[in-house]
Amino acid sequence: MHYGPHTAADRARMLGALGLSSIDQLFDDIPAALRASKLDLPDPEPELELAARLSALAARNRTDLASFLGAGVYRHWSPPAVDQILLRGEWYTAYTPYQPEISQGTLQSIYEYESLLAELVDLDVVSASHYDGAAATAEAALMTCRQTHRDRVLVSRAVHPHYRETLRTYFSGGLQLEEIPLVAGGDAAGTTDLDALERMLAEPDRPVAGVIAAQPDFLGLLEPMPAIGELAHAAGALFVAVVEPIGLSVLAPPGAYGADIAAGEGQPLGIAPQYGGPYLGILATTDALVRQIPGRLVGMTTDLDGQRAFVMTMRAREQDIRRDKAASNICTNQALLALAASVYLTTVGPHGLRDVAALGAARASELEAALAAVGAPRIHPGPYLNEFAIRVPNARLIHRRLLDRGILAGLVLADAEPGDTSLADGLLVCTTEVTTRDEIDLFAEALAEILGGRPAGVEAGAGSGGSALAGSAR
């Protein structure tokens, strides 16, 4: 049983038209020795039962926690208009707009997305999107190599660890990837070490194609992006800025500080966390580099009658035409997520977007004060927007105890950055516009009790599922 309509009579009719007696005959060309053994899967589940089982599975996830976890994926209020628009079958069951005459909805929505993001990043060209922030960053790095004909890229250690790991995988073929260390102490602790960067750029006979830094960085700190860009350009390298879209409503955008390419994660724009995706890889660049940008592009044009319309353009760059000479093998774009981001941005609006960023910052100030008051101060002194690292003794154990009390106290930094001893006792916490004062108080009070050694009642014992402590480094 499947969703198809064929009855026994339909099958008989089609077989009859083909002069066959059995569907098996259509598979005669599979050599007998290679025919499949049986499919060892369960019986079909009727919808009612499957739905109940799926509900039960979903209920085994703890999504009721007071969450202070960010680290690249952020809880935001997505106006219901977003998902209700996405549920229209004309959006989500459509295919890639290869026949533009009957795909003007998708095409215009992508053009609008490109234009909206261009405003946010203040760069001329935005691709129709990539898989996620990590893939977009990897593609940006490859762009710098192609454009400069150099093979060495420098990435700040303050860029998201997953992005750096992904870069390492994409670069494992002979291109060189090096990490720029962070400042260890003082006001700029936790941000990219400019002196080290300058030295790395000056190494003789090892020219650099691109320099990559994030704003804010993985630790939530604000980086000296203009200075990084100047150093890169002075050495003939391109500058890639990894950005977060909500923050771009209030922070200087890449175009303002001379970045050549911007990459980032669009998930905060109305897209649910979904345990990893699908998300929205943002990739943008200047007009000068438009021919290097991989992936789909949608542009405006006219039809035979002079009517304005939209179409995929500069297609000959892409894999189906360039094949082994294509810049990237990417075929998909995250069309539906780009639509979600567009609907989010138009529904929330520019003032609303700024309020989202500002509220997150306000809550973060409250959280910082509340946690410092109970003995968990920030690790770094520099400015941040809405995310920062705090120091607690035995961070991993504290995180577990807080989880037992229904609080997801951010990310255990020792797992995310095991090589950085300055983060050994760190938790990376964030707030957004959905964080409440009550949640902040709950966190601070629970932490106070745990640090003070006075349990608030019976501890939760094995908690929710006794396996390995701590979010594994992932």
Binding site: Y3, F27, L54, L57, T63, V125, G349, H351, L403, A470
Partner: protein
């Protein structure tokens, strides 16, 4: 009458007006951003449109109606498997327990999703006859890259640095050679045999100590099963190379052929094809990869593991030193994978086998009807899709496949894939899938036949098509020569943010 809606829309930038919208987000305290240094602050707000919700909704509803979709009608795009997207799957993915789970949540908080992912991996492994599966790749192309990078790691581990080539048939999808290039390999293209299958002799001649891998689509992009696949795989392994299968055409062989059992070392799945996850206008999808014993050590990290006590956890980064690493951030496109999981569970073994049976039957039936007016290059039973050619029509009338495709729109159908695979002149690659009725198949065939007749009698009707769509044929040359990729309005006065 147009097959889609026809209300063309202004852009959101033209619809917005200063002062409209708002009311979604509470106002922050006035000093919320005071602690951000001025040097890091934005000085000019982004010129995003200000719209009230009713106008936003109307805009996106009207735009959606300009789209053709599977939910609208027949979408016989070869190689894309445009089957019905079950609504249960949309409901499942939106369950708050699945949708709201942060990807860095501790394993203890993610048991439902981890179990779902584990079971999905097992199911895909069983379907493909592979030993293990990674659900991490975000799309088929990323799955391909994963597979080729694992093959590269394998040869490196053997200390074999001589292998710098990947062999692909000339019928392959463009992602195959593009993937090989991304992984640093040179692509060697092998011409296909007369019957449309791989030319075994040509492959044998090209296989050697420089071959890292071959990339094969089976059934091929012509919709034909590679009967010589066993011999090809033997030759590949004898040459010390590995065999990658592009799983785009899995819809043809569920329950009939398991690539892993046959000897493929690695393959990717397109869950947005065979496993019904929606195409979304171009994405998202997901591209899990399955491997046999040879490549098992190299799978991306982290894998989902089951503990002796029955709970689930993610591997720690570095726990398996042979892994090729991460292909992307976080665990994968879990929201898409939930849909694939629900699909597989709904069908079970018998349902999945029926899917392929009906997909193949429908394609052969449709091919027999289309053959009434079009060239069918290969005289044998197809699998889930087939290639037809308008070559004769073109030589007789000048009308091309492109024109026929555009005219199908006037008949209310989405055109099939055109000009692919590259090795057939004036190709149309037609894949009905198993979720279309015989009546639909007949109506589509009748339309194609009518257009063939129009090509003889009134060719300008065909060459000027579409006549009924919201827009007519587009000026793609100007769009590429002088790209307009961004709306640039005159700077408009924006109201300052209140408060």
């Amino acid at each position: 009458m147009s097959v889609t809606g026809t209300r063309l829309q202004p852009t959101i930038f033209e619809l917005g007006r200063p002062g409209r919208g708002g009311g979604k987000i509470p106002h922050p305290p006035k000093d919320a951003l005071d602690r951000i240094p001025a040097a890091s602050r934005r000085t000019t707000p982004p010129a995003l449109p200000e719209m009230n919700e009713p106008d936003v909704v109307r805009h996106y509803v009207n735009l959606s109606q300009l789209n053709y979709a599977v939910d609208t009608g027949f979408y016989p795009l070869g190689s894309c498997t445009m089957k019905f997207n079950p609504k249960l799957n949309e409901w499942a993915a939106r369950l708050p327990g699945f949708a709201n789970l942060h990807p860095l949540a501790p394993d203890a908080a993610a048991q439902g999703t981890l179990q779902m992912l584990f079971e999905l991996e097992r199911a895909l492994a069983e379907i493909s006859g592979m030993r293990a599966v990674s659900l991490q790749p975000a799309a088929g192309a990323q799955g391909e890259l994963t597979g080729i990078l694992m093959i590269r790691a394998y040869h490196r581990a053997r200390g074999d640095a001589a292998r710098d080539q990947v062999l692909v048939p000339d019928s392959s999808h463009g992602t195959n050679p593009a993937t090989a290039s991304m992984a640093g390999y040179t692509t060697v293209t092998i011409p296909s045999a007369e019957d449309g299958g791989v030319d075994l002799d040509a492959f044998r001649a090209a296989l050697g100590p420089r071959t890292a891998a071959v990339m094969i689509t089976n059934p091929s992009t012509l919709g034909l099963f590679e009967s010589r696949i066993g011999e090809l795989l033997d030759a590949v392994h004898a040459a010390g190379a590995l065999a990658y299968m592009d799983g785009a055409n899995l819809n043809a062989i569920l329950g009939r052929f398991k690539p892993g059992e046959a000897g493929f070392d690695v393959m990717h799945f397109n869950v947005h094809k065979t496993f019904s996850t929606p195409h979304g206008g171009g994405g998202p999808g997901a591209g899990p990869v399955g491997v046999g014993d040879t490549l098992l050590p190299y799978l991306p990290e982290p894998r989902v593991l089951r503990e002796p006590d029955g709970t689930f956890r993610l591997e720690r980064i570095g726990e398996r030193s042979t892994s090729i690493g991460r292909m992307r951030s976080f665990a994968g496109n879990t929201g898409v994978l939930v849909r694939a999981y629900a699909y597989i569970c709904a069908h079970g073994a018998s349902g999945l086998r029926e899917v392929s049976d009906d997909a193949v039957l429908a394609a052969n039936y449709l091919m027999s009807r289309v053959a009434e007016a079009y060239d069918i290059p290969h005289e044998r039973a197809c699998k889930h899709e087939f290639v037809a050619s308008a070559s004769t029509i073109k030589h007789r009338t000048g009308v091309r496949t492109l024109d026929i495709a555009k005219r199908l729109i006037d008949y209310g159908f989405h055109p099939p894939t055109i000009y692919f695979p590259l090795i057939v002149e004036e190709a149309m690659l037609i894949e009905p899938t198993e979720t279309e009725s015989v009546e639909t198949l007949d109506a589509f065939a009748d339309a194609l036949i009518a257009i063939a007749q129009e090509a003889e009698a009134t060719p300008e009707l065909v060459t000027g098509a579409p006549h009924t769509a919201p827009v007519r044929r587009l000026d793609e040359a100007t769009a590429a020569r002088h790209p307009n990729l961004r709306w640039k309005a005159a700077p408009a006065a924006m109201m300052p943010c209140p408060g």
